[in-house]
Subunit: 192 residues, 4 copies
Amino acid sequence: MAQLQKSIEKRNALVKATIHLVNNNGFHATPMSKIAKMANVSPATIYLYFDNKQDLVNKVYIEVKAAFTAYAFKNYNTDIPVAEGFEIIWKRIADFKLKEVQEAMFLAQCDNTPMIDEASRQEGLKHLQPLLDLWERGKQEGIIKPLSPYLLYAYSINPLSFLMVMQQRGVFQLNQDYLEDAYQAAWDSIKK
Amino acid sequence: MAQLQKSIEKRNALVKATIHLVNNNGFHATPMSKIAKMANVSPATIYLYFDNKQDLVNKVYIEVKAAFTAYAFKNYNTDIPVAEGFEIIWKRIADFKLKEVQEAMFLAQCDNTPMIDEASRQEGLKHLQPLLDLWERGKQEGIIKPLSPYLLYAYSINPLSFLMVMQQRGVFQLNQDYLEDAYQAAWDSIKK
Amino acid sequence: MAQLQKSIEKRNALVKATIHLVNNNGFHATPMSKIAKMANVSPATIYLYFDNKQDLVNKVYIEVKAAFTAYAFKNYNTDIPVAEGFEIIWKRIADFKLKEVQEAMFLAQCDNTPMIDEASRQEGLKHLQPLLDLWERGKQEGIIKPLSPYLLYAYSINPLSFLMVMQQRGVFQLNQDYLEDAYQAAWDSIKK
Amino acid sequence: MAQLQKSIEKRNALVKATIHLVNNNGFHATPMSKIAKMANVSPATIYLYFDNKQDLVNKVYIEVKAAFTAYAFKNYNTDIPVAEGFEIIWKRIADFKLKEVQEAMFLAQCDNTPMIDEASRQEGLKHLQPLLDLWERGKQEGIIKPLSPYLLYAYSINPLSFLMVMQQRGVFQLNQDYLEDAYQAAWDSIKK
DNA sequence: CATGAATGAGAGTTCATTCAT
DNA sequence: CATGAATGAACTCTCATTCAT
């Protein structure tokens, strides 16, 4: 078990290193050797845990995406009314993007790049279902505009990614007041 | 002049090839040799027009960004009332993203990646001023929420990029009806 | 230790190949790929042992220079009288140039070319100190002309390089008789 | 004739540029394009005057060598006694190396490098005949040691090249006093 | 499990040379 | 004569991946 523990730690170190390096340099300027060095393992060791570089990035993507959605839906359950539920989820997502900056930045880069293969992208999408269900409920209750989930997502969730990137680039500071403004804009864009 | 003409055509072919290949494969999987081949020139010829790969991508970015904003503000002038002006600009932007898909996709990738250097990013930003001025006017007239331009952009303009990417991936079709919905959501999110 | 042994052998093979190829073709006509081929390694392997081509040549230079001076001063110590000491050193140097032709030719090319960087040149110079000390002693004893070491070197040591190059080009044969003549000329030029 | 004049000037500019650039960067780091730029002509123009890069360097070598020997033997004729004649020639050579530094450095680099082809080397050697004749006369008169001209050259002439290189590297200053010392050493090494 | 050493393939870039004008 | 534009070939160097240990 101590052995297993060490393995898990090594894998985690690799995931962390990948996120960090890809964030700062992009996929193309992140050699496997650097990832290995940062994770304090041999390059060869990476291949004990992942098939190849593409597989590494795919798996990291899926795991980070899973962590992201787990975080997002932590305090939500289907008994909560639509408006309140949306606010809960939205604010958890905002929270994640502000606190887990590295992970969130990584997702943003993956989502706008041909860096991740289609299968992994689909896989990452699965976990978003509760939000889609919430929206469906909202539409039926006449609270939310009868729009495609893609539109709802584009206007109520995705802007947070843009704001996070701007914050990360240092041109914009997303403090508590702004956050409330952002939430209002999100809600205004999809509420009926 | 025939010589000059041929030079311009060659340069254009290089720009087009760069956009196309970076869109499909990403920066890292787009070797100079492929760009050259697609533009029907020798690899060495690229270096007559651009300093190096980074310079090539930077310049393509700036030029596409300039073309994009020129398109966006084509029918707009400062005499037009705020609400109408915003609609004009917004719809031109949407138009661009639907018609000049390659260019628009290229911009989206550049804007979410450490692929472009900071100076070029700033350069590309300059041309957006008319939109910022419009918003300022709207705020003073009490028509638009008194928010940071970053927030206004995040909610009213940036979602189009997301939708375009989704459309490009084939998971969502942004037809005329949806477009009107999208415009309404954009306007709802920033109007007072 | 078998591994270490193999590494050392590989490095040595690279050094030997560099000397040989630079001698025959000059620095500029010696691609890394040829060095690799001659040393029976992959081009990439060179970069495990040296930072780049310049570093490779610098390091080879320093090492050969060190071997040269070690050889030169092998039988000499500071107890030996000046005239005798000079003869010992001079003949060892001549010996080296006649026996270790490849190494000696390599040094000659490096010393007359902007091929080696200044730092490495300085590094290579250090080991010559015993000869400078001998000359100093000779001057104090009134045996050797009170000249700058550069002059002494130019007239008593450097001519050997010229003669070696001529011999290598096949236009001149430096046999035992000639060697004695050469020694006499060297000594005549610096003795008081 | 004005046309011819311009051609000659262009050729001269090319020769000068070659000398200068090869001196500072070495043969391998001197692209034809740089030579062209420094001579204010198009790269293609070089090929109107020279067959290729090798031919360019060969011809420059031969011409500089010819200029060098012309300079060396300017004030000498066969009526002058041996000792006096040698001094005249030696001092003219020294003069050349101190005044025409660029040309002299270029020769030094060519003479110690596989940069010039054998034929051109032979060609350059021809002009040295008067010195060889002088030595022959000296030997017959019993004034000069009965040594191979290679040895005589190595000890009495070649050291000047070494000293010039050192001077050029800034580690040694060859002023008037040193020059007299150097001459004495040269003469001592070959006089009977 | 883990590794450091090794590498083939291919990246970006340069350059001697040519050719239409 | 002279050229700027163009290029194929070759350069240095990197990197994802493998393998003997």
